[in-house]
């Protein structure tokens, strides 16, 4: 375990945040829009990754995000609650749903968890299409109010319909969420998550309550999925079940696998690189082809780089062919120098 000085890390982080705050002043409105969605997706993929540290590929993650979107939207639209209430409520509501989901998922792992979590997500998603009240069935919920910060002075007069203020809002929420998730990941709790996955018998033998910790990871992941959903709802101002369907889950899987889930930053890098790619592709081809590209990226990554991009540096370092090249270069250098 290598650690840089915490001071250096804090300075680097501060610089990055300052950079991100400055960015929207220099890019187009469209790219600001892309950035907002990227921030939301970063929260989504990081919370997904948290659950994978205990070995679970949670295929209900996108539906859970959708639930958060619906909760925040309905609370704001039908009950007039302000954003700073509805967003945490979305998080807590989805955390509660996660707790409920984790009961049947308790004893499952590997493939069974994969399929069971998908089943739970499907049941949830289908219930939105079936229940006109309050989910609006196929049409979903629309005319969702923009974030309302009353009665907080200063914030309540900001027009969050504009992309720039929403960008700042999304950025702030994302930074807070990531800090919390990072703290969990590097705490003893996070180490327990990874220990229980990599050496389950050993963890059990020193007294770890494995189902309890897996549930904890699931609930925390669900909470942040809910927050991502709430952020999305008030930005898009209209949501429906199709926004949280299988294609969205595919994208999530590709981000996570492409980036790699071993490190905290892996999936974040993955979603960022792929979002940039997506934006470029959208200019070059019609958007219908894009799921195909994602499918190919998923397959290629799984075949050639199963650890994701984050495993690339390690792979290159230990690559035998590269080592051979290096050795040859070194010996040739020696030849020249002795001549």
């Amino acid at each position: 375990m290598h650690m840089q000085g915490p001071k250096a890390k804090a300075v680097g982080l501060g610089a990055l945040i300052a950079f991100l705050v400055a960015v929207p002043f220099f890019i187009s409105t469209y790219n600001t829009h892309v950035a907002i969605l990227l921030f939301i997706n970063i929260i989504l993929v990081s919370s997904f990754r948290l659950i994978t540290t205990t070995g679970g590929w949670n295929l209900s993650h996108v539906p859970l995000m959708g639930l958060g979107a619906y909760i925040s939207a309905i609370l704001a639209k039908s009950y007039g609650l302000p954003f700073w209430v509805t967003l945490p409520m979305a998080g807590l509501g989805v955390a509660a749903a996660g707790l409920v989901f984790s009961l049947p998922l308790r004893r499952t792992k590997g493939l069974a968890f994969f399929i069971a979590s998908f089943a739970a997500g499907e049941a949830l998603r289908l219930s939105w299409t079936r229940l006109i009240v309050p989910f609006g069935g196929h049409r979903g919920v629309y005319l969702i109010p923009a974030p309302d910060f009353s009665p907080i002075p200063g914030l309540q007069s900001v027009d969050f319909v504009q992309p720039m203020p929403y960008y700042m809002l999304a950025l702030s929420v994302m930074v807070v969420c990531l800090l919390i998730m990072y703290r969990v990941d590097t705490s003893r709790i996070g180490h327990t998550f990874k220990a229980l996955y990599s050496e389950g018998s050993l963890a059990k033998s020193v007294g770890v309550d494995i189902p309890g910790y897996k549930t904890l990871a699931f609930v925390i992941g669900a909470l942040f999925a809910g927050i991502a959903g709430g952020l999305l709802a008030h930005y898009m101002r209209a949501i429906d079940p199709s926004s949280f369907g299988f294609t969205a889950t595919l994208y999530l899987l590709v981000w996570a696998i492409f980036g790699g889930t071993h490190s905290f930053a892996g999936p974040i890098v993955g979603v960022t690189v792929l979002t940039v790619l997506h934006t470029i592709l959208e200019g070059a081809m019609s958007s219908e082809w894009i799921p195909l590209v994602y499918g190919i990226i998923l397959i290629v990554t799984l075949v050639f780089l199963p650890g994701g991009i984050e495993s690339l540096p390690e792979r290159l370092r230990t690559s035998k062919s590269l080592q051979a090249l290096r050795a040859r270069w070194v010996s040739r250098k020696g030849d020249y120098e002795s001549a």
Binding site: M1, R188, I189, E199, L202, S205, V206, G207
Partner: protein, 256 residues
């Protein structure tokens, strides 16, 4: 009252009776050897006692309380710890980090305290590091503390497994083949650690094939074969027991 009593314990896997109606008791402060030929059911017995497997029948009585079927984390809390036959370690962590991890996993700080990295948490972490170093010293591998676990020589790995189990402050330690694969020097060093642990008040139940180590360290032996208990008693008595010799037919052990 015995510290641990196993009563009519059975474990069936379909038609296979891995453990068949076995009863014995281990007294506090003993070093008990559980021996028998391969396939006798010794590791299954360990898994039953430590909660990794649920018994088909019978009781596991710990200080008078029947704990049969409880999960491993409950057993650990009650004071029963185990090591594994195949060395199970956190491979990419150093020896010290392995023991720290075990200490961490075992002690409990509240979640919100974890978040804030309060002074109390930092203090606790320092204490844990000291404790971990102490355990490494007690088991004699302190000099390997910064080596990555998977790079340690086999003998050190097995001892590290013991140090990890000790992190849970057990009253009963189940050692599954602690000296298998070790040379005579390592074996004697490890058995010396086992004796020292007993002197500090930890009861030991160990499974081992190395008869020299078993004979020289155990107070009493329980012998299993094909899932059943076939003999029990002092090492010298058991050694001469006809049934035991027959069970081991072919292993060629007759003298120390």
């Amino acid at each position: 009252m015995s510290l641990l009593e196993v009563r009519n314990l059975s474990k069936h896997f379909g038609n296979l009776m891995a453990v068949d109606d076995v009863s014995f008791a281990v007294e506090e402060g003993e070093i008990r050897g559980l021996i028998g030929p391969n396939g006798a059911g010794k590791t299954t017995m360990f898994s039953l006692i430590s909660g990794f497997l649920q018994p088909t029948k019978g009781e596991v009585i710990w200080r008078g309380e029947n704990l049969a079927g409880k999960p491993p984390n409950t057993m650990v809390r009650k004071g029963i710890a185990r090591t594994f036959q195949l060395t199970t370690l956190f491979k990419e962590l150093t020896a010290l980090e392995n023991v720290i991890m075990a200490c961490h996993l075992h002690t409990g700080t509240r979640l919100w305290q974890q978040f804030l990295r309060t002074g109390a948490v930092r203090q606790r972490e320092k204490e844990i590091e000291q404790k971990a170093i102490g355990l490494l010293e007690k088991t004699g591998i302190a000099e390997a503390r910064d080596e990555t676990a998977q790079n340690l020589p086999h003998g050190h790995q097995r001892i590290l497994g013991i140090a990890i189990a000790l992190a849970t402050k057990p009253s009963l330690l189940l050692l599954d083949e602690p000296v298998t694969g070790m040379n005579p020097t390592e074996t004697e060093a490890t058995m010396e650690v086992v004796r020292r642990l007993r002197n500090e008040g930890i009861t030991i139940l160990l499974v081992e094939h190395d008869m020299k180590a078993v004979m020289s360290t155990c107070d009493k032996l329980t012998v299993m074969s094909f899932g059943k208990k076939i003999a029990e008693g002092l090492p010298e008595e058991v050694r001469k027991n006809q049934a035991v010799v027959e069970a081991y037919l072919g292993t060629g052990y007759t003298h120390a």
